[in-house]
Symmetry: C2
Subunit: 394 residues, 2 copies
């Protein structure tokens, strides 16, 4: 298989964009990525588009990518629509990677776009519910405590982290510290939905969403889009002197076999093997902190620390910008926002900028050469419906 390069990335600011349609958001991200790649729109040979909820939210199902891209002047090429719940964006990127790695195309697009705000708030929750087996909703962990009008995932996250916190004797200040770190990072990120640094007190005083998760520990509802132009090493030589390589692209889903490792562990181990590195070689990481608890669990599962040592890792400051292994310099899902189909590609955009030294106020010192993204979607078999790990190298 051929080597694959991220040639250009772009995204919209994430947030509430009442005046912008999915088309507007997609076009904006695409335009930025094409400019960043220094190519013409007409050079894109195929497109892989991730979106999770347009069918349920706007009624636009079936050919979502064609509709978005046509409005941006891109048509007549192979267009693949894909969804994997909150991992839809990284799934689109994985397919785009495969298309170039196979030698089928030289230059392709991965686009993630999502419009979550809708006057009927229940439509948003129907998307989250359809991220699991809708026939098994009542057996969802934490479903018994589920409140109308909020994400069932926050109940699931709460249920999961409570067990972990009991096991390792961790209190809610640990979760709050992750939220504080990410809100500070978000305050440095012009693309973030929330750009205000929160104090520990502010986080701990915000209302309970699902105990022990508080409002400021949870990702919000968001609109937004992110795009990446991916190309072969040969094509990259024409457009850049500093290619960012895709060193590994691994997707998997939760297993029914009790003895199998969880998806994040399985996928990341395979990705480390493919990239020929270990967790200690990472210099920047973007993880799927749909809630602060998710980031805490990822410290363990990605091997950034020993099992149960996650609390110590955040306390030590190691995961701050300037720390030993910065996590979510973008602000993560909590602060950058979480337009679900766009998140995976926004993570990849952040790592690309960090590796190029273009991350502005949130740039990690000693420009990193190796970064990882972890994007997860849906819930099934006691694990993620889909987990996608990407490793990038200069």
């Amino acid at each position: 298989m051929q080597k694959v390069v991220v040639l250009g990335v772009g995204m919209t600011k994430f947030g509430k964009h009442s005046d912008k349609s999915l088309k507007d958001l997609g076009k904006e991200a695409l335009t930025h990525a094409v400019q960043d790649a220094n190519i013409e729109l007409s050079q894109i040979e195929a497109a892989y588009v991730g979106n999770a909820g347009a069918g349920l939210i706007t009624g636009q199902e079936c050919i979502r990518g064609q509709v978005i891209l046509s409005s941006a002047g891109l048509s007549g090429i192979p267009i693949i629509n894909t969804e994997n719940a909150c991992a839809s964006g990284s799934t689109a990127f994985h397919l785009a990677w495969m298309a170039v790695a196979s030698g089928l195309y030289d230059i392709v697009l991965a686009l993630g776009a999502e419009k979550m705000f809708h006057p009927e708030k229940n439509r948003v929750f129907s998307v989250l519910e359809s991220s699991t087996d809708i026939e098994q909703l009542s057996s969802f962990p934490g479903y018994g405590e589920h409140k109308e009008g909020q994400s069932i995932f926050m109940d699931l996250y709460a249920w999961t982290i409570k067990n972990y916190m009991t096991k390792y004797d961790i209190d809610e200040r640990v979760l709050a510290k992750i939220a504080v770190k990410n809100s500070y990072n978000g305050s440095l990120n012009p693309y973030a939905q929330y750009q205000k640094a929160q104090s520990l007190e502010e986080v701990l005083e915000s209302r309970i969403i699902s105990d022990p998760l508080r409002l400021k520990m949870c990702s919000p509802i968001s609109d937004g889009a992110a795009a990446a132009i991916i190309c072969s090493e040969k094509a990259a030589r024409l457009y850049t002197n500093k290619p960012v390589y895709v060193a590994a692209s691994v997707l998997t889903s939760g297993s029914q076999k009790q003895e199998e490792m969880q998806t994040v562990e399985r996928a990341s181990r395979k990705a480390f093997e493919l990239a020929n590195i270990g967790p200690k070689d990472l210099r920047v990481v973007e993880v799927h902190d749909a809630a602060a608890s998710g980031e805490l669990l990822m410290y363990d599962q990605l091997g950034l620390c020993s099992p149960g040592e996650g609390a110590r890792l955040i306390e030590s400051g190691a995961t701050k910008i300037g720390g030993k292994i910065p996590v979510n310099p973008s602000g993560g899902l909590i602060s950058r926002g979480h337009p679900i189909g766009a998140t995976g590609i926004a993570q990849i955009a952040e790592i690309t900028w960090q590796l190029r030294g273009q991350a502005g106020a949130r740039q990690i010192p000693n420009q990193p050469k190796v970064g990882l993204t972890e994007n997860a979607g849906g819930y099934l078999n006691g694990d993620n419906g889909a987990t996608c790990i990407h490793i990038f190298k200069l």
Copy 2:
């Protein structure tokens, strides 16, 4: 890129399956394909799942493939959910082909599944409407004559074929003859929704759906699933002495550029080039006759006859089983039925059976060695949202 083989295929009977869920249908097709491939379920390394409307019809969005496959005992592998309206099945197959051709996997699954029947009939029509740009519905050709409670696509097909019939002085008996042929073929196909041969009079006396299209010229609402196990040439050697090769897999979408050829012409020309054959080398073809008019247009666009000579081709009997170039020996969408995400893979199953000489009563004499499938989905830019052409060779 590596050579790719269709190792096994399977499908459910298409029709109204009130007692079966999308899971039941998917499991049945998968089980048949795995048996046909002579492998174990656990040998499947990745799955590509096409479905168009479950989000709007059942509320199951986001991780449809995981939900279907988990219930069939397949989990813990990469699962990609894809949709391209009525071309969702062939799009899933195209991705599965790419996955093996790239060398990433040896054995993968392509599954198409759809449940269209629902007590609220409007849900079905919402899926069809979302197969175009829903914001532009009112500018849809034929939308002015659109009647509540029927597919807007039949109006579009009627509008398109009326122009063609006027141009080439064709009367409705030509469309009826296609329906008669396909109903006869369907009568020989145990998987077909309709297994009764219709007379010319019966077709011409059925009610008008959208002039000149009559009920028995149109594909019905259907439930069903179809699956294909795809593998590398090397893996195929372990399981079969008679591999069916994928000689070309081409996907494209409608272009905004007026000067560009239509998708079917563009995609099929490229497919012929890749397979190193011409239309005259084909011995069996499955086309997307969502209405009989579609098959008539495909005669031209695939190069099975000279422009405008389609009427003569059907009149001559050349496209019957036993004719020079049999088209839709399965009965096509009109008779086999059209569970939209499953159709593309059902076409591929039919060609596989024909090339292997396993098509039973509808087997084409002088067992064909080369076949083609044409699967189209959605409407945008005055053309298909997606068109997928596959060529298969013994």
